[in-house]
Subunit: 221 residues, 4 copies
C-alpha cells in the first residue's frame, strides 16, 4: 500500500516536472528573444550637429565595430538558443535545482548586450583588449552555465529521456569545449583582440553545426 | 431544471477559468522575462574620454555596486518567478479579481529595475541608505502583493485545487515571513545598508529552497 | 460534389482561423507585457551631483507626477489587457482584416510609454495641459481601435461564437463609452489637467469591473 | 528490418521537426512583438527648458517625421509578422538550417528600430537621403532574408505541407518582388527621399493584401 502511494506520488511529481518543462521552455525563449532584440539599442543615432565633412554616411561607416559586435552577439545568442532547444530535447522533466541552474544560464545570456556595447565602443581605443577580454569572459561564463545545466541533468541520467544513454557522454565532451576555448580566447584578448574574436567566431560556427551523438534514437538504420 | 442550467453555467465558468489561468501564466512569464532582461540596461558603457590612469579596467572594477545590485535583483526576481509557478500550481482556476491582484504583483515586479539602478548608483554615496530603503521597500511591496494573491485564492479554498487543504495554512504562514522581514530590512537600511542587503540575500536564499507543505498530494508514502 | 468540397475548404479555413486566434492571443499578450514593462524606463536615476539639501529623498519625493503617471498607465493597460481577453473570448476565429485591426490596437497600446513620460515630466510645468491632452488623446485612439476591432468581429456575428447574440449589442453600447468619454477628457485637459486625469481614473475603474452581457451563455439559471 | 528502423527514425525526426516548428513560432512571435514595441523608445520627451514660443505643442508638432517613421515601421513589421504566419502555414516541419535562416530574418527585423530613429532624426536634414537609403536598404535585407527562408523551405517541397504544389511557385514570384522593389527604393532615396518612402508605403500595402495562391488547399469548389 505504501509502495503504491509512493508510486502515485512519484507519478504526480513527474507530471508536474513535464508541465514545468514546458513553462521553462516558454520563459527561456522569452528571455532569449528579449536579449537578442535589446542588442539594437546599442546603435545610437549620431547627433545632427558637428557631422564630419562626409556627413552621416561617413559617421555610419566609421561605426563598423558596432556592426561587427552586433553580428557576433546576435549570431552567438541565436546559436545558443538552438543549442538550448537541443539540450531540452534530451530532457524528460525538470526539477527545482534545474530551474535555478537554467536561471543562472539565462542571467549570463541577458548580460550579453553590455559587453557587446563595450566592445563596439572600445574596439578602436587603446583599451580594446580589456573590452574584448570582458566579452570573451562573459562567453566563458555562459559556456560554464551551459555545462552546469547539462551535467546536472545528465548525471546518472537524472532528468534525461530514455534512449540517450550512449549519446550523453558524447554531448558532455562536446559541451566541455565551450568553457575551455572561450577561456583561451579571454587570455588571448590581452595580446590580440583580433585573434580572440576570431576564436569566438570559430566557436559560434562550430556550435552552429547540427550534431547528433552516436547512439541517439534518431540515428536508426 | 433551473438547478441543472446553473450547474452547466458554473461548468462553463470553470472551463473559462482554467483557460484564463493558462493565459495568465503566459502573460506573467512574459512580464517576469522582460523585467529580468531589462536589468542589463542598468550597465552603462563608460565614456571613452576622461578615463582614469588604470583605464577601462579600473572603471569597470569600480562598478562593483552595479554588479552586486544586478545579481541580487536577478536572483530575487528569478526566485519569485519560481515561487509564482509553485503558487499557480495550487490554483485550479482564476477569476476576475485574481487577474487584477496578479496584475498588482506584476506591477511591483516590473518596477525592480529602477531601485536596482538607484542602489547601484548611490551605493558609495552619502545617500546610500535612502537608496537601500527604497530597494527594500519595493521588495516589501512585492511580498505584500504575493500575499494578497495567495490569501485571495486560498480564502475558503476559493480557487485552490483539491488536495491542498492541509498545506494551504502552512503556505500562508511561510509567505507571511516575506512582508515582515522585508519591512524590517527597510527599517534597518537607515542604520546599515550592509545589514539591510544581507537580509535581502538571506530572504532570497530562504525562498529559493524547495518547499512542499505537509499534507500536499505529492507527499505520499 | 462541388458543395462538399466547398464545405471542406470552409472547414480548412475555420481550422486555420482558430489556430490563428491562438497565435494572435500570444502575440497580443507579448505586446501588452512588453508595453507595460517598458513603463519603468520612465524613471530616471537622479544624478549624484547637485542634489538639493534634502538629498536623494527630497528628489524622489518630488517625482510624484512620475509615480502617478506610472500607476495610471500600468492600471489602464492592465485593464485593457483583461478586456482584450474578454473580447477574444467572444470570438470564434480570426480573419485577415481582424489581424490588422488588432495590430492597429496593439500599435496604440505600444505608444502608451511616451505620453506617460510626457505627462510625468510636464505635470508641474506651464504646458501640463498639452501633455495631459496628448495623454487623453492617445487613450481616445486606443478606445477607438478597441471599438473597430469589436465592430468588425460583431457585425452580423461575423467572427463571434454562438450564444452571444443577445449580449453583443450590450457590449457594443458599453465599449462606445470609451471613445466618447476619453474625447471629453481630451477637451477638458485644456481647462483642467486634474479633471481630465480624474476622468481617466474613473474610466479605468469602470472598465475594471467584471461585466457579462445579459443573455450570455454563462448567465444560466 | 533496417528499412523499418529507418522509417521509425524518420518518424522521430518528423515529430521533432513539428515540435520545433511550434517553438520557432513562439520565439519568432516574441522577437516581432519586442521589435515592434521598442519602436516607442524612439520618441524622446522634449526638455522642459528652452521651449520655443509655441511651447510643448509646437515642439510635438515639429516631430512629424518621427510619427511618420513610427507608423511606417510599425505597419511594415506588423505586415511582415502576418506574412511570416502565412509562410509558416505552408510549412510542415522545420530543420536545423531553417532555424538559422529564420534567425537571419529575425536579426534583420530586430534592426528596424535603428534606421527608424535615423530617418526620424534626419528627415529634415541635409543628409535625409542617406538616412532614407539606410532605411530602404534594411527593408531590402529583410526581403532577401524572407526569400531565403521561403526558397529553402520550398525547394523541391523540402519542408512544405502537401497540397501546395501549384501554389508554391506563385508565392515564389510574389515574394521576389520584395527585394527588387526595395532595392529600387534604396537607389531612388539618393534622388528623392519622398519617392523612396512612397515605394515603401506602396510595398507595405501590397503585402498587406490577403493572398492565396491558385491551387492551395482552401481554394476548393
Amino acid at each position: 500500500m505504501t509502495v503504491e502511494r509512493s508510486d502515485e506520488s512519484a507519478e504526480v511529481d513527474r507530471t508536474r516536472g513535464r508541465r514545468e518543462k514546458r513553462r521553462l521552455e516558454a520563459f527561456s525563449d522569452g528571455v532569449f528573444a528579449i536579449a537578442v532584440t535589446l542588442l539594437v539599442l546599442e546603435f545610437k543615432v549620431p547627433s545632427t550637429s558637428g557631422l564630419p565633412p562626409g556627413g552621416l554616411f561617413e559617421v555610419l561607416r566609421g561605426e563598423w565595430p558596432s556592426y561587427f559586435a552586433y553580428l557576433l552577439s546576435f549570431g552567438t545568442v541565436l546559436i545558443m538558443w538552438v543549442n538550448h532547444h537541443v539540450l531540452l530535447d534530451y530532457i524528460r522533466e525538470v526539477d527545482h535545482a534545474f530551474l535555478y541552474l537554467n536561471g543562472l544560464l539565462l542571467m549570463t545570456i541577458t548580460l550579453v548586450p553590455f559587453p557587446t556595447s563595450l566592445l563596439a565602443r572600445y574596439a578602436d581605443q587603446k583599451d580594446a583588449h580589456v573590452a574584448a577580454a570582458v566579452y570573451c569572459g562573459l562567453l566563458t561564463l555562459i559556456a560554464i552555465a551551459f555545462n552546469l545545466v547539462w551535467w546536472y541533468a545528465a548525471h546518472r541520467n537524472r532528468l534525461l529521456s530514455t534512449g540517450h544513454d550512449g549519446g550523453g557522454q558524447a554531448v558532455t565532451r562536446r559541451y566541455m569545449l565551450g568553457p575551455l576555448l572561450y577561456l583561451v580566447a579571454t587570455g588571448v584578448a590581452f595580446f590580440s583582440v583580433m585573434a580572440a574574436l576570431l576564436i569566438c567566431v570559430a566557436m559560434a560556427l562550430f556550435f552552429a553545426l547540427p550534431y547528433r551523438p552516436p547512439g541517439s534514437q534518431s540515428r536508426g538504420g
